[in-house]
Amino acid sequence: MILVYLTLLFAGLLSTLFTYLAVTEKDLLKAAAYSAGQSIAYSILFQVFAATDILLAYIAISVGVYSGLLIFIVSKTERFEV
């Protein structure tokens, strides 16, 4: 049981770190990568909560589709935020 709580703590803190980095990062491509990192941390949380059905949709959408869309959109504007 303590292992479950430790995994929750680790994934939760990791997701906060990635969210913070994604918000403050000026390089938009790096920010998209941080956002994908946050999604991976959330995927660990879903797995620990035994929400496998949500996990399967979430990991494909948030790590794959969402990051891909963000990179497409960055390619249509500029890479660096001013």
């Binding site: 803190l13 770190l17 059905d53 399967l56 494909a60 794959g64 959109i73």
Partner: protein
């Protein structure tokens, strides 16, 4: 850098304080009993009188017990893709050129990974009534394959294999029509809309297919994958092409 560190420390202290408050008030404890609604689904999905003949309670809820919610969800996704296509207003595909693509290493690894993605997504979607997963999960996984192919082989690789946005949108329309038909067919036999086990067989050739759940999952699989793939293709066309298209529209 100092300011970023300060912000991070602030975020973590706030999170720690919140966690302590939640822990101190005792609301962190998980419930010891399942709610009555939960018990109903656990007991009925496979064995009870109101069965959906599916050991996967989530799929049974999504497509059978709470099917109406999924209708609206699918409608929202359908309209979102329609709105996306309306913004781009592309009627043609760009003329076929030879794309450059990336290095041999990334090409070879993408070939392997893309094949694996197709297999895994098919297993997620077609076993959706037996194991966690389903049409939406499988379809969004399958959509990653073209998403990988587009930057690594260039989108001409898809267009050269006749995988045009027009074909993808048509496939999506057909798959959504199939979902509608599966829901409507029981009406012709005098049953309610979205009837499951009383109209569709639970077993085919000794294999558990859970009635309409398998049909819904496989149609949704194609609809979601082709919808996402069409959007990615439109997004990957060069800006010059979009400008040309818009210029022609105004004339």
């Amino acid at each position: 850098m100092g300011r970023r560190l300060l912000g991070l420390v602030l975020v973590y202290s706030l999170a720690l304080a919140l966690a302590l408050v939640v822990y101190a008030t005792g609301s962190l404890q998980p419930p010891h009993e399942i709610k009555r609604l939960g018990v109903f689904y656990v007991e009925e999905t496979f064995f009870g009188n109101m069965t959906a003949m599916s050991p996967e309670a989530v799929t049974a809820i999504v497509w059978d017990y709470r099917g109406l919610d999924t209708v609206y969800e699918t409608a929202v996704f359908f309209l979102a893709v329609v709105a996306g296509l309306a913004v781009f207003r592309v009627s043609k595909t760009p003329p076929l050129k030879r794309g450059v693509g990336l290095t041999e290493i990334s090409r070879t690894s993408t070939k392997i990974v893309a094949a694996l993605i197709v297999v895994v997504s098919a297993s997620i979607a077609l076993h959706g009534h037996l194991t966690p997963g389903g049409g939406f999960q499988g379809g969004s996984t399958l959509a990653i394959a073209p998403l990988l192919v587009i930057p690594i082989f260039s989108y001409y690789a898809l267009l050269a294999r006749r995988l045009t946005p027009g074909l993808l949108v048509t496939l999506r329309g057909l798959a959504l029509t199939a979902i509608g038909l599966v829901a409507l067919l029981p009406v012709f036999k005098g049953l309610e809309v979205v009837t499951n086990i009383r109209f569709y067989p639970a077993y085919i050739l000794g294999q558990l297919v859970s009635g309409s759940l398998f049909l819904y999952n496989s149609s949704e699989y194609i609809a979601v994958a082709s919808g996402f793939a069409a959007v990615f293709l439109y997004l990957s066309f060069e800006e010059e092409f979009h400008e040309e298209e818009r210029g022609e529209d105004h004339e």
